[in-house]
Symmetry: C2
Amino acid sequence: MSIRITGFQTFDLRFPTSQQLDGSDAMNPDPDYSAAYVVLETGSSEIRGHGMTFTIGRGNELCVAAIESLAKLLVGCDVQQLMQEPVALYRRLTGDSQLRWVGPEKGVIHLAAAALVNAVWDMWARQQGKPIWQLVADMTPEQFVSCVDFRYLTDAVTPGQALELLRAAAFGKSERLEQLQQTGYPSYTTSAGWLGYSDDQLRQKCTDLKQRGWSHFKIKVGRDMDDDLRRCSVLRQEMGADAFMMVDANQVWDVPEAIEWIEQLRPFNPWFVEEPTSPDDILGHQAISRAVRPIRIATGEMCHNRVMFKQFMQADALQVCQLDCCRLGGVNEVLAVVLLAHRFQIPVCPHAGGVGLCEYVQHISMIDFLCVAGTTEGRVTEYSDHLHEHLHEPVVMANGHYQLPQSPGYSVRFTDEALHGFSFSE
Amino acid sequence: MSIRITGFQTFDLRFPTSQQLDGSDAMNPDPDYSAAYVVLETGSSEIRGHGMTFTIGRGNELCVAAIESLAKLLVGCDVQQLMQEPVALYRRLTGDSQLRWVGPEKGVIHLAAAALVNAVWDMWARQQGKPIWQLVADMTPEQFVSCVDFRYLTDAVTPGQALELLRAAAFGKSERLEQLQQTGYPSYTTSAGWLGYSDDQLRQKCTDLKQRGWSHFKIKVGRDMDDDLRRCSVLRQEMGADAFMMVDANQVWDVPEAIEWIEQLRPFNPWFVEEPTSPDDILGHQAISRAVRPIRIATGEMCHNRVMFKQFMQADALQVCQLDCCRLGGVNEVLAVVLLAHRFQIPVCPHAGGVGLCEYVQHISMIDFLCVAGTTEGRVTEYSDHLHEHLHEPVVMANGHYQLPQSPGYSVRFTDEALHGFSFSE
């Protein structure tokens, strides 16, 4: 059946999270979690494609505008044809010779490309009656490789090498699927550790989350050393010595400062330290990684494309890969980074939280487990408690694990109530 | 005298350069040189600030929208206060805690920040009655350092080190100013070598430009090897063995491919090879640089911030720094990169062409000569022939040299005819 994209609608959705200081950290004191949301339309009201990119408030209007500029490139396209050559879809949305100038493959235009790439994948998956994780898990290694744009990657991984990796990884896939069906995919939570929370709030949240099955907790740091030491102590006390504690500095340090600060946090035995410095500073992360070993450095939520991730991995500048489903240019580029991570044997622990990100990333972690890495060892996917009620098919958590999504698509369709209640206008 | 910013106007200016294939290269087959232009207003019609960012057509509307989102942060500000602490100006426009998410310091939002930072500098310079080059050249080393945001740079250069460099560089400034007044600053030209030109056009342009005083010529390559070899031969024949020939691949190669291709071009003795691969690929440029020595690698027109340039220099991944006055976040960040380049002893040969870029960069090269590098040796600033007629104070060239700008400001005020004739609407 041919499905043609006939038009699109966009929405500037903003949720006033800054009022409760949910999501507050050293770089982002008062985010309003937002989505630049697009619905691709076809002749049929049954089949639509839903995609979004995540922002934290102001600037969301720019992503909406960029989606509108890029969406024109899709109107009139046949979805089956697009998905027969998925790299061409990615290149169509990232390679326009004029629009490319205002990126390339970074910032507003790439965030917008992600929303659209994901919307096409969502539409295709709905038409096939499969959730995204299953759509990819059912692919042959050849089909998987055909989704990836290897431009600028061949010095690290060629299509042929990728194919070999995927063929080897396919072994045991059905057992892993059973495991996912039974227990789901492990997560960690940032819901306790926002910088705007008091110590009492932190304690209370910890107790609550522990009871609900989590053993990995992340805390925000980097604003004030005394404050950090106190809050880390609180978290350790509440969690016990055996739980996993991660700290997140949200890019506030210069390289020498990061090394000193992390040294102070060493006694709390952090499982990783996230975003110690500028997300663009590969060599800076390399220097920090070397200095603070065996503490691991994590980054990725602002790592804007596969070329940056390639270098972070080549340089051993990150030891935990926190890719983001809409910072990267949609499913195609996410699969590229998942492949790269496997090539360099680096665990993928995707960035989530915000709004819609948990819904996206659950699919990716499951694809990584089923088709690429083949293990969940040393891997947890971020989870945060808020704003799921605005989505049609919200994540289902059980005992700290993401449960296998059942509904077709990529899970970021917003409810009509959300569209009516949170559409932004100045 | 207090000048307060009371409002702003924006313009989406597009010039239909794709019709003549001026500006065509292997990545950008049909650019329409464009400017997202902003005029900052004060109570007085005498004092305005003019800034722009450059794009190649589609997507210019996104830069205009981003300028509008960011300009609100300036309305009500006193310009003297802004310029008393120039880093605060830069941080105000790049550090908004929500808008930062859609960068940070890259892509659309950073291109827009550049237009605004430059507009404030332009306003200040006009109020002082000085061209930008002179405004900076008249600063003490302390004042120069106070313009630079050292965040994320201190592992490469600290404010104290910068101060020492600038103090040492101040020696001989007045003699250098005399030299500039007499001969201007040397340029090279890309006007001959666009990929869309025929061999005959190439020959004709070469002869013409040589007669007008140029000795450095750049040619676009990377689409087809036979074509490149033929065109490079034509250029060498026309120019003679003693002229300087540069080649520009505009990012079309992967790393291994770049190394092979450059090897083929070695007999033509290129003075540098520009943009061999992805502008984000620091380690890729490093690998290419090592493989093709002593041929030098140049890049920078899409190098989006000082953190990226820092790494390119730390890794010896570029040997010629082609910073861009609106890809970087305006004068402040440009001065940061000029300082970094001096610290690493890398020549700055800024990117120009397009529209308005030549008008901007002449100031920067002169500042580099007067205050930082102290020499023009091994340095030429890009120049391209077109679209200068749309600016109030166009560059003045003589014998292949940029002549010292005399008018106050940053030279990118568009004419009323341009605003009327080339404002874009769909």
